[in-house]
Amino acid sequence: MILLFSLVVTIMNPAFFTLQNFFDLLHNSSGDAILAIGFFVALLSGGIDISFPAVAIIGQYIAVNALISMHVSNLVLALAISCGVGIAFGAVNAFFVSVFRINTLIVTLGTSSLFHGAMLELVGTKAVNAGQLPKCFTDFGYAKVLHLQTASGTPYGLPLFAIVLAVVVLATWLILRHTLLGRIIFAMGGNFEAVRRSGVNIRRVHFFIYCYVGFLAGIMGIMSVSLIRYSNPTYIVDTELLPVIAAVVLGGASIMGGSGTLTGTLLGATLIAMLQQNLVLMGLSSYWQEFFVGLMIVIGVTVTHVQRKFRTGNRLTFVRD
């Protein structure tokens, strides 16, 4: 599907298939890809965590404000604060999910509303613009690992964001593939009861999953600030939720948990990012974007599910959503 889309775009616009455009794509969409990975991990375990946009926004806003009030410009500190907030947030989610066994969708809906409201009430609602933003953020946003130049002399390069994304992907892959914890996460999505009865400490796994999602959202929050050089306490909350979920689901992860691949998730995220970036290149005005993202999700999931239906044929596999 991605190949097909790339082909169409390349035909429409030869400017698409260049290294520069590819690096731009990485630069703009690494954050979303990290969110998608977090959402994917929660989905694998059979849960749904929709609190990540709220976590990202709270983490970055608190970090930015803390740095400004301390008059320091230290990226490591900012990341530590943001991720710390994310982990704390995740722990609260995990607490409700594992101790009270409340539906994960409801828990994360409730906590994101609760904490986002509380943050706006307690920390403030003022947006921080580029001038006030500590310098470390803008540096992080501009940082390039590899410096290249186009034929016309415009410099471009491999953004530092891509390295962050690569580290996250590698870490998640190692955890999911090569640790007991990762296998338990897969198994939980497949058959929760079986895992529980085989003596796994479910509570600890829940805490790991939701804290990990929070941690990744914390990283994304800082990346997002660095990218747009503007810290707005209401910005990410509703705009990033749907594209991220769309990316994961298009990547073939089952909404019921237990199946899905990291590669698929990354491909899904790439597809959504390409779609968002290239509709304009293809000469369609920006208000077609919503329509096409929706259309992609509908077609993508319909094809997967109709295929599954044909495969299972007349077997009595009733699947609940």
């Binding site: 059979g46 609760l114 986002h116 706006l120 974007q289 329509f291 999931v301 609940r320």
Partner: protein
């Protein structure tokens, strides 16, 4: 007492308590006719959407596209209404035409959802997530992102008029509540929805046409969205794609708070209506007491979590302590998720 009534009772107590507390702090103003009118005007918009989401949730699904269906049918109705001078038909006919068009568009959207969920077998949360973007996208394409204004003045009745001293949209809301209650409690469709929600396989083997039941569920929900759209655009006398998108999470919260089981098979109109009232009372009350909109957001989140915890504790105590005494063994808790 079963869990069904217990939840509605909790909500009723909460409703009376919050009304009482707020009335004490804001004497005279809170229960004044003017404020009651205000509340009656605000509540139907998301009340109707909550009912639509409840229908989907009873069958074990969820409808994330309600807000977009509302946007799209509102935009279509608005387009017709704003051209009323050009069309040249009598005003009454134009309005009727616009309302019919809104309902027709909504039904079409509902049919798309229903076909995806029932016949293609796509999980409702993903299907409606996709159609959410799709429908909103179409609405944005129609208006090119701008708003539409210039409706015939008579149209404002639905959002601003009074019927017997009661705001018109509140009367419409009550009629809708009555119809949904009839649908769920007295018709075969309602019964089948509960059965499908609690166990699709058993429903299938009892001769229920699962696909058709699901399709009808989403069609019914979409009609409620169209009605909400009419009220909304009449109330503000204009329409813009994405209007009312802040209601999406609120409706999920209301429906769950109303005791509807997100896994399907359980949910009452009474519970959801009480839950709608609680949210409205809190909203107006906190507003009167000078709290910000953010505090409201916080309190809704807190309320949702606390009610879920209390629900858990109640079922847990019933299962493990009361039932356990008779069964002499610990009942296994339900699968979380």
């Amino acid at each position: 007492m079963n869990a069904k009534r217990a939840n509605s009772l909790t909500l009723l107590v909460l409703l009376i308590l919050s009304t009482g507390v707020i009335s004490i702090f804001v004497p005279g103003n809170f229960l004044s006719i003017r404020n009651l009118h205000n509340m009656g005007r605000q509540l139907p918009e998301y009340g109707l959407l909550s009912l639509a989401n409840m229908l989907a949730m009873i069958t074990g699904g969820i409808d994330l596209s309600i807000v977009s269906i509302t946007s799209l049918s509102g935009v279509v109705a608005g387009t017709i209404l704003s051209q009323y001078a050009a069309i040249g038909l009598p005003v009454g006919v134009t309005i009727a035409l616009a309302i019919l068009a809104a309902i027709a568009v909504a039904l079409l959207c509902g049919a798309v959802n229903g076909v995806l969920v029932a016949y293609a077998g796509v999980p409702a949360i993903i299907a409606t997530l996709g159609t959410n973007g799709l429908f909103l996208g179409i609405a944005i394409i129609i208006t090119k992102g701008a708003g539409i204004i210039g409706f015939p003045p008579q149209f404002a009745f639905f959002g601003n008029g009074l019927i017997l001293g009661i705001p018109a949209q509140f009367v419409i809301f009550l009629v809708a509540v009555g119809l949904v209650a009839l649908l769920l409690n007295t018709t075969a469709q309602g019964m089948s929805m509960y059965m499908y929600g609690s166990n699709p396989i058993v429903a299938r083997f009892s001769g229920i046409n699962n696909h058709l039941v699901l399709l009808k569920t989403y069609l019914a929900g979409s009609v409620l969205c169209a009605v909400s759209a009419i009220i909304m655009i009449s109330g503000v006398d204009s329409v813009r794609p994405g209007y009312g998108s802040q209601y999406l999470l609120l409706t999920v919260l209301i429906v769950v708070m109303g005791g509807t089981d997100p896994n399907g098979g359980f949910g009452t109109v009474l519970g959801v209506v009480l839950s709608i009232f609680v949210v409205q009372i809190l909203q107006s009350g906190l507003n009167f007491l000078g709290f910000s909109a953010f505090f409201m957001k916080t309190s809704w989140g807190l309320l949702l979590l606390l009610l879920s915890v209390s629900h858990f504790l109640r079922t847990d105590i019933i299962k493990n302590h009361i039932a356990g005494k008779y069964l002499k063994k610990k009942v296994q808790p339900d699968r979380a998720v």
